[in-house]
């Protein structure tokens, strides 16, 4: 086996050029979709948990420090550890992976949505109350639109992190692009390892770009100071 860089790159291109590698249950398309599926499900569940917490705390202005500290502790827990731990608890399946990825997705979204909500100028919050908005109207018509860019930045950070970390799914026998990495390492097929790494990187960058666009889309025009 030739491990030199030019040879590896040549191998990579050759591998990708082979149509057989794109089809079937171990093909790039199937593995890529699995990978994206892990990312989407985990980010969505994470958002469903994190955003109400961050937005609620930011809206009421209470308990923020606690929430941010807790999520920061959460950040310190290694995702691989979580996978193994939940794997031991519930056994084989997609759940350990999703749990670990959700845990990874939550902290940036809690922190960002809290900070975004707290960042709304108190004078503007007060103005909303003074013109006769109910607390819900204030939240939906004033605070959320103003906090939206930061909230979306949190979602974007989470999505990108989850996209790269979803590689770990392969460790517990599941699919995703991590398969190429794990399997390649097992048989010392470096070309296959490289294929996995490059594809994950491409997906992560694509996620970053997609969510950056999304963030711009949800930012009210009056808040774009460009």
């Amino acid at each position: 086996m030739n491990d030199s860089l030019p040879a590896l790159l040549q191998g990579l291109i050759g591998w990708l050029a082979d149509p057989a590698h794109w089809q079937g249950s171990n093909g790039v398309l199937e593995r890529g979709l699995e990978h994206i599926f892990y990312m989407m499900v985990s980010t969505l569940i994470g958002a469903a948990i994190a955003l109400p917490i961050g937005i609620g705390l930011g809206h009421s202005g209470r308990g923020g420090l606690l929430a941010i500290n807790l999520t920061n502790i959460g950040r310190a827990v290694p995702s691989f550890g979580v996978i193994i731990f939940v794997f031991l608890l519930v056994g084989y399946g997609v759940i350990p992976v999703i749990v670990a990825l959700v845990a990874l997705a939550i902290p940036p979204m809690v922190t960002n949505s809290f900070v975004g909500m707290r960042g709304v100028d108190p004078a503007i919050r007060q103005a909303a109350t003074a013109v006769g908005m109910t607390p819900w109207q204030r939240l939906l018509q004033v605070e959320l639109p103003i906090a939206m860019p930061l909230i979306m930045a949190g979602v974007r950070t989470s999505a990108v992190q989850v996209m790269s970390t979803a590689t770990l799914a392969a460790y517990v026998g599941l699919g995703g692009l991590g398969r190429y990495l794990i399997d390649g390492l097992a048989v010392r097929d470096l070309v296959q390892v490289l294929v996995g790494a490059v594809l994950v990187a491409i997906l992560a960058v694509a996620t970053e770009l997609l969510f950056a666009g999304l963030q711009r889309l949800v930012t009210a025009r009056g808040l774009r100071h460009d």
Binding site: T134, I146, G222, L223
Partner: protein, 384 residues
């Protein structure tokens, strides 16, 4: 005639129902701080009342208790005969305009949407909202082209105008203004103050305005409540009476050392005091002017142009040296730096007179035409 009278009567009745009455109102914070103590105050309907005092005197708290942004600890506030604490806070606020120091505009909404806030909350039909926004933009003197812009694209003064338009959108009978002009520069502030007075002359709303600036209070207030540091009212009176009969040392200090000058600012020239003066047309000859002057025994003469507007002052010495056959307008005249309008206040008159040539100032009407002169001697007699 009868309908006009009837309309006026209903208007009065409506206004009376919007007087704001404070009945032994106190506000204490949980930490024991007393912001307002046993406040009794009636803010008459249709008038602009200014709450003024040093910082921390409770004037803003007092304002904010009216629309329940602050809850009172004891006592009661009534608007007409309704206790504010018994009304629904949200509904109450939709019928009370609120203008704050920094405009408090919603940055993510266009100017039009900002102005439309309360009508939207009140679920007005779209067409009515659009029409109302257009009307308001004109009312507060904004350029109609601005309504599609966003707040950060406007100057501070423009933002304050939008803030006022938003507060007036649903035509509330009451308007609360919390230091509305404090964050704009002095020139814009003067302008906005004048506009507010002009609007109020048309609208006749019950306005409560908080400021720490006694000049602003004197200029804007039909009545002024001066708060002392203990959250109590030192005096509640019209500007004229505050100046003429300050209740105590605190009020005297607060109004400041130039109290007499401020009094002058509240008094207008009396038409009776305007002296016809000695005046000649620019086309007259020096000889004519000399004759006129000698007959009147004055030290100089006001020269007018063909439209009867004052051109300048010509004193006896210069007249005496000139050639008797030449025309007045060929001589060098001393112009005035100010023109006194017939409705000018005495403070401005005195100020103008200090630098006036010949110790007299011409007084003009709306079209700038000469009415007569006012002299330092006359004004001093009036002051003593």
């Amino acid at each position: 005639m009868t309908t006009a009278a009837a309309r006026q009567r209903t208007q009065h009745a409506a206004q009376d129902s919007h007087a704001i009455v404070f009945d032994t109102v106190s506000k204490r914070y949980p930490d024991g701080t007393v912001a307002v103590e046993a406040l009794d105050l009636t803010l008459p309907a249709g008038e602009l009342t200014v709450l003024v005092g040093p910082s921390g005197c409770g004037k803003t708290t007092t304002l904010r208790m009216i629309n329940r942004l602050e809850t009172l600890s004891s006592g009661c506030i009534r608007i007409g005969d309704r206790d504010v604490m018994e009304s629904d806070a949200t509904q109450l606020r939709r019928h009370i305009g609120y203008v704050m120091q920094h405009s408090g505009l919603f940055p993510h909404q266009t100017i039009a949407d900002n102005i439309a806030t309360v009508p939207r909350l009140l679920k007005w039909p779209k067409s009515r909202i659009t029409a109302r926004v257009e009307e308001l933009v004109e009312l507060v003197g904004l350029d109609a082209g601005l309504i599609r812009r966003y707040p950060h694209q406007l100057s501070g003064g423009q933002q304050q105008r939008v803030g006022l338009a938003r507060a007036l959108a649903a035509d509330p009978p009451i308007l609360l203004m919390d230091e509305p002009f404090a964050a704009v520069d002095p020139i814009v502030r003067t302008h906005l103050q004048d506009e507010l007075l002009r609007l109020q002359a048309r609208m006749g709303k019950t306005i409560v305005l908080v400021t720490h600036d006694i000049d602003e209070a004197m200029k804007l207030g039909d009545r002024i409540a001066i708060f002392n540091q203990n959250g109590r009212i030192a005096q509640f009176d019209t500007p004229t009476r505050l100046l003429a009969a300050p209740a105590d040392e605190f009020v005297v200090d607060f109004i400041g050392a130039d109290r007499e000058l401020r009094r002058l600012a509240l008094q207008q020239l009396d038409p009776e005091e305007i002296d016809p003066g000695v005046h000649v047309a620019g086309s007259a000859t020096v000889g004519d002017a000399r004759t006129r002057l000698q007959q009147a025994g004055s030290s100089g003469v006001v020269v007018l142009d063909e439209a009867h507007r004052p051109l300048g002052w010509l004193d006896w010495e210069r007249l005496r040296q000139a050639d008797g056959l030449s025309r007045i307008e060929q001589l060098e005249l001393t112009p005035w730096r100010h023109r006194l309008h017939e409705r000018t206040n005495l403070r401005s008159a005195l100020n103008a007179l200090i630098s006036a040539p010949g110790d007299v100032m011409p007084v003009v009407d709306d079209d700038g035409r000469y009415l007569g002169v006012i002299s330092q001697v006359q004004l001093t007699r009036r002051l003593s």
